[in-house]
Symmetry: D2
Subunit: 264 residues, 4 copies
């Protein structure tokens, strides 16, 4: 990553282009490439040699900022093949999991890959994300983004069913976003290191109840918690500050538990 | 970290002891050490040779689980010298910042250190957290915990005022939890790499407004956002699931912005 | 009600006594009566001849305001025999119901009576609240408060089971706070005027689901809606305004539907 | 209002027509009238002689229910000339105010009239709502709806400024929805009966702070509280119940206080 104005961008680099809050793009610079927007287009060639934090202008004169692609930018590279998990939930799930550089984790189902990319960011080059999904196409589409982002060494994607035994063991965390997490508890139990957590995301309150009860009844999970996060964004202006009128009222519930030696 | 039941705990190891949701401790094992609880005491010596995920009994027969100290456990090692930032906020702040293994970040003021420990977890052994606070005593108390947690190489604590110029440059993110963040914007601007974010935490809506307006007026910050998170925990039981009666109604607001080249 | 400073209070009047937010009482003035508080006592006789809005002092010199008993004060006269419905929910239930002076409504179960008193306030002297509960003692205790408040003519309390047919007909609204509202739908249908609403309060999400589905399947109810309200109180001070730290995170869910001619 | 299937609708009656949640109309039946919808039209003449709770079909065969116009239906008669106050807020404001049949209240500014109509509903034919607004056109437009709804005797609308002295006295409650409520406190104080409440609605947190501080500093107001309500609606289906994805994140804040004799 470029640290100072003298480090200049070259072909192959991934950059975030910011015109305004609604015109926010992530591209890989290619020779002759064009970024088209409703405010005019930008030639990739015009970005070459510039540095992060500098500006470029569209063909119609709109100013665009060239920014380094941090985690929240990278999500915009992903093609939405399923309902995604939002940053408010992703962040809490990752925090609760306690993962760190070098952690080895299981994720199922990867879907669009918002969580996969986030996990890849935090486990780093020495960590490993084993990502499963039942859907071949989703795995292929996400695989392409993983390659562009340079995460091929740390993310292993597989078409597969985590409700059946896996040959993974000793993982630092498990993340589930599947319709019936209660059917995957034995697999989770087997792949997790003792004392480490599983984090489950479900959209309905019925799945929440069923998941929590299954975790308790399994016998090998401790400290089961169920959470929901609400995010409000504020419109700030001098003397007229207030929450935004519209907000996301619901995304999903987050369940947390930790493996202990089974007593059943 | 122990991977299997055969890895056994020894003196010097940090372990989390879980009796129930309200009796949850983090200790470093020392020869002859005693953990006292209202359910009886546990001799550290009885934990030696056991593995994570196993159990031990208190002098009064209560069962306690021995768990590995993941991030949320480690927070319990910190002595509260100030109002803390809660995990719901810590997690979103860290996610938005885009930090990753190896990131170099500034944090001020460190206070009790919940954010410091969290940043240390995520930047890893190759990253660096420069933690400032005006209060000597807080720095000293947090320093002791940093040492116990083995984070001495990655966390640099200093008594100092970030509203004055610092000799740091090229940082990947800045985190502020100080009463007057608007007075630290020029320092933030100078230490950040172009395009990288600053994340600010403030408890009142007046500070929120003042911070956002100062960021906009500074000229070197883009994409300013203001957020608030609400966390609901659920009481789950078969056929009687509902949110908990009491919840934390407010902790603080989170402001996000990214450095670009100043146009003023 | 007294309109001006010249209208003076006399024995038998109900008054609200306000020392501070936590010392807030509702009493009926009786000859020789004493209101004891941890800030000293107040003799009822000292209030006689005063007007609403004036002050009186406790034996220990604390100032107390004499206020007219408006609806929210009257709730404090009720002895809590069950979990109550909070004003945030009471108000929305009453608003949705569309009741007005003269409305005739059914309520079950009355419990502590927060909703009964509220309904009595809004239907007025020409309206009627038919209040049912299975529990004799609750009916008796609430009956005493109804008498003190002068609502005997407008509130008819009965020990009875609304899951069985009632001999009421042509009501303007029905309010239910019972554990199994789905078992009372036929009674509700029979007592309501066509087109008029039923409002149901339930504490768990399982009851919410079961109630909504039963209303839909019954065939005689239209426009079924399910709501939840969250109330935040703010601590306001100049330059340091913020929501209160603790809030009620959950009370219950509110279901609304309107009777139409049954198609089954 | 019609109580049974034998009471039949006639010209001049106001009815609510419900096709589905998004096709929900309130009309006054006139000879030869037509209600046009994107599901076909309904001739008013076809509704004559029917009863509430019965159905009628559109020209394109869509079934429509004929419902009595309860309070929430009547709001749909109002032409939106300003940002409205939503039912979740209207209901709590009215509840806190303690108004009842026969109450006399002041409201400013009336705007679109959602609060005016709600107050008219609850004070009834023996009560009085004095509604002020600075804007002539709004007063005229609201006046037409007041007449259609039959509320002419209980609602007195005036073009006027409540920041200046009024010749009203002895009111049971005051409701303000004006940009600068702090400039109307002396008027509020003068028109209210001692001990009775003022309820103020403001959209921004800055107005909230300024209003609360002005109420405290005035000297004649007690028990000042500041609230915010969040309403979540639920999508209920068997085994898949969850809050709706989108919600209104903010409407406004509600301030409550009670007049006492001024000590300044």
């Amino acid at each position: 990553m470029t640290d100072t104005r003298t480090d200049s961008l070259s072909y192959g680099d991934i950059v975030s282009i910011y015109i305004d809050e609604k015109r926010n793009f992530v591209i890989r610079l290619v020779r002759g490439g064009i970024l088209g927007t409703d405010k005019g287009f930008i030639k990739h060639d015009h970005i070459i040699g510039k540095s992060f934090g500098e500006t470029v202008y569209t063909s119609r004169g709109a100013k665009a900022y060239i920014l380094p692609p941090i985690l929240i930018d990278k999500l915009r590279l992903l093609k939405r093949t399923t309902q995604v998990i939002y940053p408010k939930d992703l962040s809490f799930m990752i925090y609760l999991s306690g993962i760190r550089p070098g952690s080895r984790v299981l994720e199922a189902g990867v879907g669009t890959g918002f969580l996969t990319i986030s996990l890849a960011n935090f486990v780093g080059p020495n960590g490993k994300v084993y990502g499963f999904d039942l859907n071949k196409k989703r795995i292929r589409i996400l695989g392409e983004a993983i390659e562009i982002l340079g995460y091929k060494d740390r993310v292993v994607l597989k078409v597969g069913d985590v409700r059946k035994p896996l040959d993974l063991r000793g993982l630092d965390a498990v993340f589930l976003d599947i319709p019936d997490p209660w059917n995957a508890l034995q697999t989770i139990y087997e792949v997790l290191k003792p004392g480490f957590p599983v984090i489950i995301y479900v959209p309905t309150v019925n799945q929440l109840e069923k998941t929590v009860i299954a975790l308790r009844e399994h016998g090998g999970f401790l400290s089961v918690h169920a959470y929901e996060l609400l995010l409000r964004e504020y419109d700030v202006s001098k003397g007229a500050t207030r929450p935004q009128t519209l907000m996301i009222g619901h995304t999903g519930y987050i369940v947390y538990a930790r493996k202990v030696f089974c007593e059943k």
